[in-house]
């Protein structure tokens, strides 16, 4: 009757063929049971693996069996739809397993050294056979380094974003924007090497009788290089959300542009800017490599970020992980738990703040 009928029977619908059989739940379960029984028989029969292989193989058999059974009952398209849905759900389960394991290990191993000693002492004079020792010095280091990094990166980043939104026009602004995005992807170790070759090896000898010197400040410099693009990007997005009429209103009153920006635009966008800054700080606090390269790490407490080696929580985790002492892993895990707690609290707080932000809603 029609072109399609000649080509492929069943493509053109009539009211009489809109009904379809559905694969019943019983059949579905039957396929599942059969799949796992076959898998178990194959694995145990040939002795080629343990229960993990049975589960994996059973799952594969189940998907194949389901595709076949559904294909017979419901038709090819419905079966394919079902198969993809199963695959997508499988991907989720597969990903949740290791991530749950990370969280579980972190908590179960991390609580071991969660005591006052850990937060009150350093690793000074702690030998391989001492089971105490703590991360006090590392926490100090993290706070100072991240704090100074924020002091450098926040004004620079916010000003840079102001340039991009309020002043930047034409090719140069486009270039800056592009490289801000590219800079987001610079590996942290490269930032560390940059500060190593620039600050530690070239600049710091001027202040230290010609000898290069590690310092917490150098780590701050590296962290600020990593924070800068994130802050510029998030601030830029927030400033763009400030409604144009708000600016025009100020201009119409004869307020100069710089005052409009500082008194009206930035305060309006402030909650969003703070969110971005907090996320950047959270990321910087977790960086290990740059601190390793330019602050060197230390066992003792060093409050002075400009003089001498400093540690940080992330570096503490790394160094304890590499320590041969049998008490080191416990310290590493507790420090890791502390670090994750700090990072997550910052991240969650930032996201909460973003939810309450009236500009983004």
């Amino acid at each position: 009757m029609s072109l399609l009928d000649r080509e492929l029977a069943g493509v053109v619908m009539t009211p009489d063929n809109i009904r379809t059989k559905k694969l019943s739940l019983v059949a579905n379960l039957g396929v599942a049971v059969a799949a796992f029984v076959i898998a178990a028989a194959v694995v145990l029969g040939f002795g080629i693996g343990n229960w993990v292989l049975i589960v994996v193989l059973g799952w594969v058999f189940y998907l194949v069996g389901l595709l076949y059974a559904a294909g017979r009952v419901e038709g090819r398209r419905a079966a394919r739809n079902r198969a993809w849905k199963s695959l997508i759900y499988s991907a989720c389960i597969l990903a949740i397993l290791p991530l749950a394991s990370v969280v579980w290990t972190l908590v179960s191993k991390g609580v071991g050294r969660l005591d006052g000693d850990f937060f009150g002492t350093s690793m000074n004079n702690i030998g391989a056979r001492d089971q105490n020792g703590g991360a006090y010095h590392a926490i100090i280091g993290t706070l100072e380094q991240v704090g100074i990094a924020a002091l450098i990166a926040v004004p620079l980043g916010v000003l840079g974003a102001i340039y991009l939104v309020e002043y930047g026009r034409g090719k140069f602004a486009g270039t800056v924007r592009f490289f801000v995005d590219v800079m987001t992807g610079i590996p942290s170790i490269v930032a560390g090497l940059f500060v190593l070759s620039f600050w530690v090896l070239i600049v710091s000898p001027w202040f230290n009788d010609g000898n290069p010197r590690f310092s917490g400040f150098a780590a701050s410099l590296a962290l600020s290089v990593l924070m800068l693009p994130t802050i510029v990007r998030s601030t830029e997005e927030m400033l763009r959300l400030v409604p144009g009429p708000l600016r025009e209103g100020a201009y119409a009153l004869g307020v100069p542009q710089w005052k409009t920006i500082l008194k009206i635009v930035v305060p309006t966008a402030l909650p969003g800017i703070v969110t971005g800054v907090m996320l950047a700080i959270a990321r910087a606090a977790g960086e290990t490599a740059p601190v390793l390269l330019v602050a060197g790490g230390a066992a003792a407490i060093n409050f002075d970020p400009f003089n001498g080696n400093q540690s940080s929580l992330a570096l503490f985790v790394y160094q304890q992980a590499g320590d041969a002492s049998k008490y080191a892993p416990a310290r590493a895990w507790t420090a890791a738990l502390t670090l994750v707690a700090i990072v997550l609290v910052l991240t969650i707080a930032a996201k909460m703040l973003a939810r309450r932000n009236s500009l983004t809603r």
Binding site: M13, R80, I88, S90, A91, C92, A95, P98, L99, V102, K109, L156, G157, L159, G160, I162, Y163, Y167, R169, V176, R177, F178, F179, D181, V182, M183, T184, G185, I186, P187, I189, V190, L193, F194, V225, R240, P243, G244, R247, E248, Y251, G254, V255, P256, Q257, K259, L262, G286, E287, T288, A289, L293, V317, Y318, A321, P329, W333, A336, V340, V343
Partner: protein, 355 residues
């Protein structure tokens, strides 16, 4: 400005017009709309000051914007300046030599094995992570009920913030065991495949490092892909459904083609992350300087992991050598990131012009 979604463009359109006028009035020297309240009585409009707060602030913020370019250029310059002396001292070909002895009297070091290990581990990580990440992204954007998708998406974003040293520690202390068992099993039944060959020991291998990397880039790729999938216009999804498409066919017809450039960019950004990852690989790889496709035997190394591992005992030439290797890493990640960004920018233009 054209790079940005039209909504934000509109928000700044008013601002840009005003800025344009400022720029012109600065040129003529006389300001038609004064920034200061008129002081004088009938002496006409006040002259624009030559060095006002306005130009000062503008200069300051322009300098801050330019700082980004300065930093990128400075990274290249300083890395090169420290790398060149070490490369001069190198007695073998830096690009093709596989070993790393920069601290010896006649330094011998080359990037070949390290670069190979970096690329191999990252590529395996992406091959594992990307399909799973896309599956989760589709689950979150199109399959899961909203009540489940929102918190789950939030958790994924949080996982992207977990420091890499934690994943490295987990990989070494927990994940090593199952991966070793798996490697032994693979070796037992599939040793006829070169990648699963060898006589052991197994475990601290490219496989372990890559899987840990995969778990780390998974949240990033998921989160970015989910965003682009969610942006698929609802009316295109409805159009597909109204043609009688099943859910999967709707995704294949409307969602995936629309999200393709965004997904490619997300994968490239994940690749950039994986290439530069340091600590997780330093803790999990077996640090062997060789070029081998065997993924289960102890071994593997990467540029970044090698820097973290050997930095402690490096002398001046050793540091220079590490900086030289960092320069190579910088170049690789720069290319990958620039390609990713170029794709995103092109897509934005496409989307804006279609809208």
């Amino acid at each position: 400005m054209g790079d940005y979604p039209s909504s934000s463009t509109n928000a700044t359109a008013g601002g840009s017009g005003v800025t344009g006028r400022h720029a012109r009035s600065a040129g003529t020297g006389v300001s038609p709309s004064s920034y200061e309240p008129p002081i004088g009585g009938g002496d006409g409009l006040p002259k624009k000051a030559r060095f006002s707060m306005e130009s000062g602030f503008r200069g300051l913020s322009t300098a801050a914007g330019a700082m980004v370019l300065v930093i990128i250029v400075a990274i290249a310059i300083f890395l090169i300046s420290k790398a060149v002396p070490a490369l001069r001292a190198d007695t073998v070909n830096f690009l093709s030599y596989k070993q790393w002895f920069p601290n010896d009297a006649d330094p011998k070091f080359g990037i070949a094995a390290l670069a190979f290990g970096t690329v191999l581990s990252s590529v395996i990580a992406l091959i594992v992570a990307v399909p799973i990440a896309l599956g989760i992204a589709l689950f979150l954007s199109h399959y899961a009920p909203k009540r489940l998708a929102n918190p789950l998406g939030f958790v994924i974003d949080l996982l992207a913030a977990v420091p890499s040293v934690v994943f490295g520690l987990w990989g070494r202390d927990v994940f090593l065991e199952p991966v070793r068992d798996f490697s032994v099993w693979l070796n037992h039944y599939f040793s006829w495949l070169p990648i699963f060959g060898g006589d052991g020991p197994f475990g601290r291998s490219i496989l372990l490092g890559s899987l840990v990397l995969a778990i780390m880039v998974l949240p990033i790729v998921t989160s970015l892909s989910r965003e682009v999938f969610q942006q698929t216009p609802g009316m295109n999804e409805e159009a597909a459904l109204a043609l009688g498409a099943t859910k999967w066919e709707m995704i294949r017809t409307a969602v995936l083609p629309y999200g393709k450039p965004g997904v490619i960019a997300a994968v490239m950004l994940g690749l950039g992350r994986a290439l530069g990852e340091t600590i997780a690989l330093a803790l999990t790889l077996g640090t062997v300087f060789s070029i081998s496709f065997n993924v289960i035997e102890n071994g593997g190394n990467s540029i970044a992991a090698n820097i973290a591992n050997t930095f402690g005992e490096a002398n001046a030439t050793g540091r220079g050598a590490l900086i030289a290797s960092g320069l190579v890493l910088f170049a690789i990640t720069l290319v990958v990131n620039m390609a990713a960004r170029a794709i995103i920018y092109r897509r934005r233009e496409f989307r804006d012009s279609a809208a």
